[in-house]
Symmetry: C2
Subunit: 315 residues, 2 copies
Amino acid sequence: MKDGLVIAIDIGGTRIKAGLLDFNGNFVEKISVPTEAYLGKEKVLSNITSVIKNFMKYKVVAIGVAVASPLDPEKGIIYYPPNLPGFEVFNMKAFLEDRFSLPVFIDNDANLYALGEWWKGSGEKANILLCITIGTGIGGGLIFKGNIWHGAHGFGGEFGHITIDPHGPLCNCGNKGCFEAMSSSYFLIKYIKDRLNEGEASILSEFIEDLTPKLIYEAAVKGDTLAIEGFRIIGTNVGIGLASLVNALDPEVVVIGGGLSKAGMILMDPVKAEFNQRVLKGIRDRIQLKLAVLGEFSAVLGAAYLAIKGMGGGE
Amino acid sequence: MKDGLVIAIDIGGTRIKAGLLDFNGNFVEKISVPTEAYLGKEKVLSNITSVIKNFMKYKVVAIGVAVASPLDPEKGIIYYPPNLPGFEVFNMKAFLEDRFSLPVFIDNDANLYALGEWWKGSGEKANILLCITIGTGIGGGLIFKGNIWHGAHGFGGEFGHITIDPHGPLCNCGNKGCFEAMSSSYFLIKYIKDRLNEGEASILSEFIEDLTPKLIYEAAVKGDTLAIEGFRIIGTNVGIGLASLVNALDPEVVVIGGGLSKAGMILMDPVKAEFNQRVLKGIRDRIQLKLAVLGEFSAVLGAAYLAIKGMGGGE
């Protein structure tokens, strides 16, 4: 079973990304289409089906699926995906197996992003890989010997909800000072906006109602003090969170991805400065902090690996 | 190989505890002697040798060793044990294998405390067990499917050095606001002493120079406001730290041991209150927080299991 192809699909709230890959992880084809989540469950399922059908003319042996949703990876049931309205509790695995008569392997997108980076990206098949994605929230994944750490109840790797500062801002989860509440792009935008409203001088002041991480990044590149300070605060918080995770788990490699990671050294310099202050001396020089390299198809690669491994390949 | 006996020994800075056990974990004999660490390396090795020799009249198949030291469990080398002066870098496994012509299995005491609780204590062979010990420092151990999580460089499970409060007190490790720096008996004593020095009324004021966790506990039981407040603060910090660890790792069971855990509900009530505030809703009611039950022979039991498993038993 090493000469077939797999279909891998990453179902996000905005886009469906998919690929047809061989067992070595080479893309034969790839595609990205809008999810159209606002049109409801049936339309999303129809879009997913179309994408997969497109690849079915080839000799496909399995389907790997990443979904932006809490889920039970064994049963394949997704639970109340926040960005896929109408799905509520839905057996995605059974739906696809029934539709395409192929084995389906499924996991959530953050875990499969980490698995993709482990397989073909910065993770380099490390024995223990810890991955975080910094975007509108903080996603996480822990890969141990090529397996996803699911925890006892499927919540393993929820790194966005470790406490960074017990007196910090309220998080969506109800806790105070979570990693996610203090390091996301939402926090960055709010920080910049608050400072602008206090009268801070910045080239960003004309964009106060339309701030994006990209605009703030571009201002930082131009030397804007407020934008640089925003990334310094985010980076410091990321450094605190990563040092806690690394001191607890002692991974071989740490991979940092997600939208904000595109800021590169503007983010990573303060991350590394704070991380080095807080990580245990015995491992300080032995832990590699790396930027993710696979970009938007990382979870597709992870989903492909999941399917390939499920079919007995992937060694 | 299920009918032999193993010797298990726990080498601490103060006492050497040891037992002779069958493959089911039943003690045939047990012993506890002073380590006499202050008399130096040769005296400690002589005490260890005497304890083991004492059991060698039986049909022993292996030796399990817990040491209060950073170590390489494969090679059996201990590195600069802080409470065993003179050892510096020493191959404990080679020393004992050479002396007794038996296979020796070794790990650090915090990991084997966790493994002991997993095998015969509150851990009940959980798929994922997270254990912390609260004493002069915070020890930790993560047991995954009966195996110790060592991390990539032997530092896995150093839960004492996750950050609880980035602006908190300086820790011995050089970081600020570590779990250990804010939840240990050292912190409790310092807190009480500082408050007494500020003139706080308490039945502890006559013991200001001789405060111990036990005295503070007894005062709390008698209703002393300051003593209760001390445990409330420690418990709150433990709750913050545990919630971070649980949100990241999603264990099945959490076991809390060590000297301070003897305070029982006086410690655990604030632990649980803060933990429940901060742990993710999806697992809040599914994670069991338990007190350790094995007491001072927990690491001996862990060392016994390590040896038994090494010899092909322990299923």
